[in-house]
Symmetry: C2
Subunit: 346 residues, 2 copies
Amino acid sequence: MEELGERKEKILNAIIKHYLETGEPVGSRVISKIADLSLSSATIRNEMADLEELGYIIQPHTSAGRVPSDKGYRFYVDHLIETKNQEVAEIKDLMIEKTEKMEKVLKQVVKILANDTQYATMISAPSVRGNRLKFVQLSAVDENQILSVVVMDGNVVKNKIIPVDDALDNETMLKLNMLLNTTLNGLTVSEINLGLITKLKEQAGIHEDIIAQVLNTVAETISDDDLEIYTSGATNIFKYPELSDSQNASELISAFEEKQALKEFIEETQSEDGEDTGIQVYIGNEAPVQTMKDCSVVTATYELGDGMKGTIGIIGPKRMDYEKVMDNLKNLKSQLDNALRGDSDK
Amino acid sequence: MEELGERKEKILNAIIKHYLETGEPVGSRVISKIADLSLSSATIRNEMADLEELGYIIQPHTSAGRVPSDKGYRFYVDHLIETKNQEVAEIKDLMIEKTEKMEKVLKQVVKILANDTQYATMISAPSVRGNRLKFVQLSAVDENQILSVVVMDGNVVKNKIIPVDDALDNETMLKLNMLLNTTLNGLTVSEINLGLITKLKEQAGIHEDIIAQVLNTVAETISDDDLEIYTSGATNIFKYPELSDSQNASELISAFEEKQALKEFIEETQSEDGEDTGIQVYIGNEAPVQTMKDCSVVTATYELGDGMKGTIGIIGPKRMDYEKVMDNLKNLKSQLDNALRGDSDK
DNA sequence: ATTAGCACTCAACCAAAACGAGTGCTAACA
DNA sequence: TGTTAGCACTCGTTTTGGTTGAGTGCTAAT
């Protein structure tokens, strides 16, 4: 399955390239014209028959040209793409100015990417699971409400208003704050175990319910935002006829709205062991989500150290411009790696 | 234009009712059958010819039945709908349990509504413009970062990390907190004028840059989230053939993605003087946004007192079930009015 | 004022025909 | 033995033209 012979490779390459551009089944004549091997259409036909037998291309019907199969695409991205690595896409890095809110950066990134590629895009906020607590603060907003603020590594800030029955005096407040900070500081969420919690509650005395609530906030910080996903350009799907019959389009766009499917996808991506580049390509049925069986998805995982990972994904038709997309992602990935990390230190 | 005569009204009503159900042009025979005025199709035809001349109905082509025009729909919602006021829709109010985050409530509401009506829905978070400051707190996260938290009336919490060059000692921190709280507490954003700012900066002495940043956070609180809009069920559009040709669908769904159009819509809604009920109906071209010229939009404005207003909107085909939708909204509106307000006090 | 009747219109549907891009195969060629 | 020209064949697409039927407007009778 590996060795095709140079000529067959060239032909397969030409077929796919041409199909990527036109989206129409490509016949033997065209190939004999555009490919610079000077062969007649008849010869090409023979080779194409072979390629079809081997499963790399498919004939939609008897009297049509050939179309790449999933296997064909796979071979293309694995062997045939020459990564002209340096013509990096022009994601303006001006955008990543110390926009203090990560949320904003991500929203921008995903928008720019969608605009640049003309495909549908998604990005997941870095998971804070395994992230460390940096700072906890309780403050009395008024007699009946306490504001609890939790800052995690990477400056993820969460807050919650806790209702209380009686006002707490200033001193208790200070004591609680001290207690929380000294006990929890530097811990990851998974390290906050039952023993610690009981100990905390003990020391808090009569205010243990407040402690419970604060811990709750911490827990929410994780579970809640773990699935924060931003999307853009979902409607680009309409640009590709093979995806835009209303059945298909509806399901796809719905998936973008619900984000459930995207979440599954991202979890899959991150569990799978990233290659050297951290870029992965899912063609058709390779996607872990049924909805996307007619698409291809290219994902990249970016990191912020400390195991904080996020995923960028581009969803398009199978005949998407893999080269451009992969270059784009590779480039963006490194920018994100740097920019966000830099931001979180500053 | 006002007086149609009872018979014409009845006929118009029958036409629209029937069209709402079927979505097909309705002919004279059907009307003569279903309407309980016992008239022959021929008579109906005469009346229909009149109605067409008056602009209430339209003939898609010569040998087809009639379809309501925008004017027809307008007349329908204004005069013909009998608001069976009490059969309120069953939005389960269990959902509005003191979910402390308004964001969550809104996301839920919009989802339930979309699901219930099978139309596309949107909801805007209550504008905090004109909202009062309740509490400000600065805390040192570490040597180089200060966390600024601002709580507004209605428990809207905003935060921002402010980078500083040198650590501030505890005492200064306390002083600044005191200063900010005493000066700003209870003010609306518009009340924080230049004079006040200068006074603040003076008193802060060398730390005036921090004050500036905090004020910035306050400003952001308003400008930023003023346009927070949640949507759901955008793909319901595909359920209505007259909207789902890919040109149209693409634009519409895109509008939902971008939210820009929705924002304009909501601004328009809120500026327009709400009737008695606060419910408004935009039919076709009445909509302030060109994209929605083939839709109808029903909006309701809910309030939290203090001029905090938000808007709920339902976007569907012109032949949407106005009755159901308006009932739904009316009901929901009051629930929101109560629930969120109740929440903000608790 | 209402209605039955009738001629007329026109989108929608369907089947047959024409088209043409592309193939597989065979036979000739280098 | 690999390549190519030629040709019959296939089959989706497009075109054409005829039929159908829902619905109308008008007229004449009630």
